[in-house]
């Protein structure tokens, strides 16, 4: 930017100076040097104004890019945090289910005849297995999202990230084991 301003200023001065020399040589008239100096100064003032305006525009563009980048990074960070929190909640619930299952099994084993209790307790393993599978799936999807973002080119980066986030939101599979302990064993006949 500065180089461009300098070039313009130099070209302006050279052109005006050359024109004056030519005019003086052709016309033979004496020229008061005050007004040419004033014109040159005006030219430099214009060049300076242009350089300042261009610098301000560049700074504003940089601020916009920085804001958009920060917004995008914030959106990504929010998605990642949310997914990690969800995964953590699922794992905690999985732990609770396993603990409940173990308690039930211990009660069942105290009475050899309590096959009923043992069958109920053993099914918790299946429920926990589904939850863990779901969590793994969510983390895999997040991993894929980050890789695809990393592979995206510089062109339209922000738009591409938004597109991928939107795609991920649509693809999110329902949690197959959405239940609390209180719903276990519920029977509904339609």
């Amino acid at each position: 930017m500065r180089r461009r301003a300098l070039l313009i200023g130099t070209a302006w001065t050279t052109a005006l100076g050359s024109a004056l020399v030519w005019f003086k040589s052709v016309s033979g008239l004496p020229i008061d040097m005050a007004w040419p100096v004033g014109v040159i100064a005006l030219g430099w003032a214009l060049v300076l104004w242009y350089a300042l305006a261009a610098a301000e525009a560049a700074a504003e563009a940089a601020r916009v890019v920085e804001r958009e980048t920060r917004t995008m990074i914030d959106a990504l960070a929010r998605v990642i945090c949310l997914e990690v929190q969800r995964a953590r909640s699922e794992l905690i619930l999985g732990d609770e289910l396993l603990e409940h299952a173990i308690r039930e099994l211990m009660v069942a084993f105290e009475s050899v005849r309590d096959v009923n209790g043992a069958v109920i307790a053993m099914q918790f393993r299946d429920v926990v297995g589904q939850k863990l599978g779901h969590v793994r799936g969510e983390l895999d999807a997040l991993d894929q999202l980050m890789r695809r973002i990393g592979e995206s080119g510089q062109e339209n980066f922000a738009a591409r990230v938004q597109e991928l986030l939107h795609e991920m939101g649509h693809k999110k599979a329902s949690n197959p084991a959405q239940q609390q302990l209180m719903h276990a064993g519920e029977v509904t006949l339609f």
Partner: protein, 121 residues
């Protein structure tokens, strides 16, 4: 005549437990690993009741219910969905698909036998 029940679940342990429970109550149990397998078996032999999981590969429980209801032999047969999902939205989908009932895992074997006996008379 011994009633025949089709037990559908992609989990071998769940299939074993359902089979063990229902056989102990005197029923014949045929196992299927997913919806596609179940549909083929249901077409090959007439089942008195179908007990299916919801989340299975190839064909899930709701799709199986809809497919069975298209078959003349299963238009009014009892079809139960046995699943980990307890949400009212899913239950509504089950009802709309034509399911007879919705059971939330883990099932109580005594309760399962009660429900089956009630539906099969």
């Amino acid at each position: 005549m011994t009633k025949c029940i089709l037990a559908v679940d992609d989990s071998p342990s769940i299939r074993s437990m359902v089979s063990f429970t229902l056989k102990s109550a005197g029923y014949e149990v045929i196992e299927a690993v997913d919806g596609v397998d179940a549909l083929n078996k249901a077409k090959a032999k007439s089942m008195d009741l179908v007990l299916t999981d919801q989340n299975m590969p190839r064909m899930d429980g709701l799709a199986l219910v809809r497919a069975l209801r298209q078959l003349p032999a299963y238009k009014s047969s009892p079809i139960l969905i046995l699943t980990t999902e307890a949400g009212t939205d899913m239950k509504s989908q089950g009802k709309a698909a034509g399911a007879t009932g919705w059971l939330v895992k883990p099932f109580d074997p005594h309760r399962l036998i009660e429900v089956v006996q009630k539906l099969l008379g």
